[in-house]
């Protein structure tokens, strides 16, 4: 009947927390009449929502898992929407002396210093990126598996950490904001997405007491993809409306809005759609 067009989207906290969605979605609703309910959470949980058919579309940043999601038939397709970038932040006095180095070198120096490193440790996109960089830097990750095998499936609940850091590697299993506050408190290094960093540094009365020490490296790209859930898996998904959202985001208007969005006067996201 006169059902309102509402779709459900699970996304990572970074898109919602940055305020970007508040700038985009009202415009989308104006253009199409479709409202979007947003559920922000960790990347893992957001993808899980898609797999369980709880939402119509997901908007996340973890390339490897996004591909797997499509491969397993949960996603209809993936569109590259935008990227921002990661930065390595740390205390002003930079005890490991990473300033000016490329990111692989920076991680190596951290490993060889006495400094603490804070890891998100929550299987988020940022966490995946961090592990990737340790790899590039040539630092071996020790893996520890919890032996919980059921029904032939071995869940990936192991815990990976750079062996050399040992006690200096603090895995907190929390969101970006918490990781930044933690790093500030301990005056430690961490890998952060630029958007959240800017918010914490310039969005508050007492800005974050950490500086960007390494940025602009090719390895620090952070692409966001949008994936409508596959209607063949869940027939009662609102695929058409989800499809319109995905297409709208990569449209000229959508891309311009993304490019124009600023956090404290600084551009935070860079459109990725290829014309």
């Amino acid at each position: 009947g006169g059902e309102k067009a509402i779709i459900r989207m699970s996304t990572t906290t970074s898109t919602e927390n940055s305020g970007l969605l508040d700038a985009l979605l009202p415009e989308f609703t104006k253009d199409t009449g479709i409202q979007v309910k947003v559920f922000a959470k960790g990347t893992g949980a957001a993808i899980r929502d898609g797999m369980d058919g709880n939402v119509d579309i997901i908007f996340v940043h973890d390339r490897a898992r996004e591909d797997k999601f499509i491969e397993e038939g949960y996603g209809a397709y993936r569109l590259a929407v935008m990227h921002n970038d990661f930065v390595v932040v740390g205390p002003k006095n930079d005890p490991a002396g990473i300033k000016g180095a490329n990111v692989a070198e920076a991680f190596k120096r951290i490993a060889n210093s006495n400094a603490l490193f804070i890891s998100r440790g929550d299987d988020s996109g940022t966490h995946s990126k961090e592990k990737e960089i340790w790899g590039i830097a040539g630092i071996t990750l020790a893996k520890k598996n919890i032996d919980a095998d059921y029904g032939g499936k071995t869940p990936d609940i192991g815990y990976e950490y750079p062996a050399v850091l040992a006690e200096r590697y603090v895995s907190i299993g929390q969101g970006m904001g918490k990781a930044l506050t933690f790093a500030e408190e301990k005056q430690a290094y961490t890998l952060a997405d630029r958007g959240t960093y800017l918010e914490y540094k310039y969005g508050r009365a007492q800005g974050l007491d950490l500086e960007i020490l390494c940025e602009g490296d090719d390895n620090l790209g952070n692409p966001y993809g949008i994936i409508p859930v596959n209607p063949e898996k869940y027939p009662d998904i609102r695929f058409e409306d989800a499809d319109r959202l995905a297409k709208w985001l990569v449209s000229e208007k959508g891309q311009k809005l993304i490019a124009d969005y600023k956090i404290h006067g600084r551009q935070a996201f860079f459109p990725d759609a290829k014309k």
Binding site: K37, R204, A205
Partner: protein, 231 residues
């Protein structure tokens, strides 16, 4: 300390602004908490009565289990309910997930043990002569139960206040089962969690203070009525 002061100021400003979005959030919080407390009360008080007033095998085990359920983490409740109401679950077709109803279901599970155990506690030390008197005067089971509840009202009201406080301040279940969707399932606590995640600590605490103010007003009303029912 500036921070606390700022928060207080923001809370006042928030309240003053009567912002429509804020009103939606506040009213959702109240509605959800009200219904979950109401339903859990309607179920939990008679359950507590039934357990306390009857002698049956395994009674102590039941009480021990109820006490254990007081430490049921919200994540477990959230996931448990999720497994039923998510699209893949038994009740998936009802489309409950990420609605206020889902929050209410989860919160009922959270506070049912609270209300039940506190009802049992309230009754257990009640003078047994009240029950005997009601019975000898010819009251049937229901009438006897009503007498007992009235005599134990202080403890039962405390159970209700405790349960209400628990749910209105609760964030885990609201987040997991409601999803914190703006305009739909965002409650005061999930909004606070969001502001916190965004690093907007001041706004987060301002919302918290608002919540406490609302709770304080409710408690004043409550206290007034409790005072009227005599000491």
């Amino acid at each position: 300390m500036d921070f606390l002061f700022d928060s207080l100021k923001s809370a006042v400003l928030l309240l003053w602004s009567l912002d429509r979005d804020l009103l939606i959030i506040v009213s959702l919080s109240l509605k959800v908490s009200f219904f979950s407390t109401l339903i859990a009360g309607i179920a939990g008080i008679p359950l507590g009565l039934a357990i306390e007033l009857n002698d049956f095998r395994g009674k102590r085990l039941v009480i021990t289990v109820l006490n254990t359920l007081l430490s049921l983490p919200t994540v477990v409740i959230g996931l448990f309910v999720y497994s039923f109401i998510s699209r893949r679950g038994l009740l998936g077709a009802m489309g409950l997930l990420y609605t206020p109803k889902a929050i209410i279901i989860g919160q009922i599970i959270l506070i049912l043990p609270i209300i039940t155990t506190l009802t049992i506690t309230a009754l257990s030390r009640l003078d047994s002569r009240y029950r005997k008197t009601a019975m000898t005067l010819g009251a049937n089971s229901l009438q006897t139960a009503l007498v007992i509840v009235r005599e134990a009202r202080f403890g039962i009201v405390a159970a209700i206040i405790m349960a209400f406080g628990r749910v209105i301040a609760e964030v885990g279940i609201s987040m997991m089962l409601g999803g914190n969707a703006k305009g739909f399932t965002r409650t005061m606590t999930t909004a606070m969690a969001l502001e916190f995640d965004k690093g907007e600590f001041t706004m987060s605490v301002a919302l918290g203070i608002l919540l406490l103010l609302i709770s304080f007003s409710l408690n004043i009303v409550f206290n007034y009525f409790q005072g009227k029912t005599g000491d």
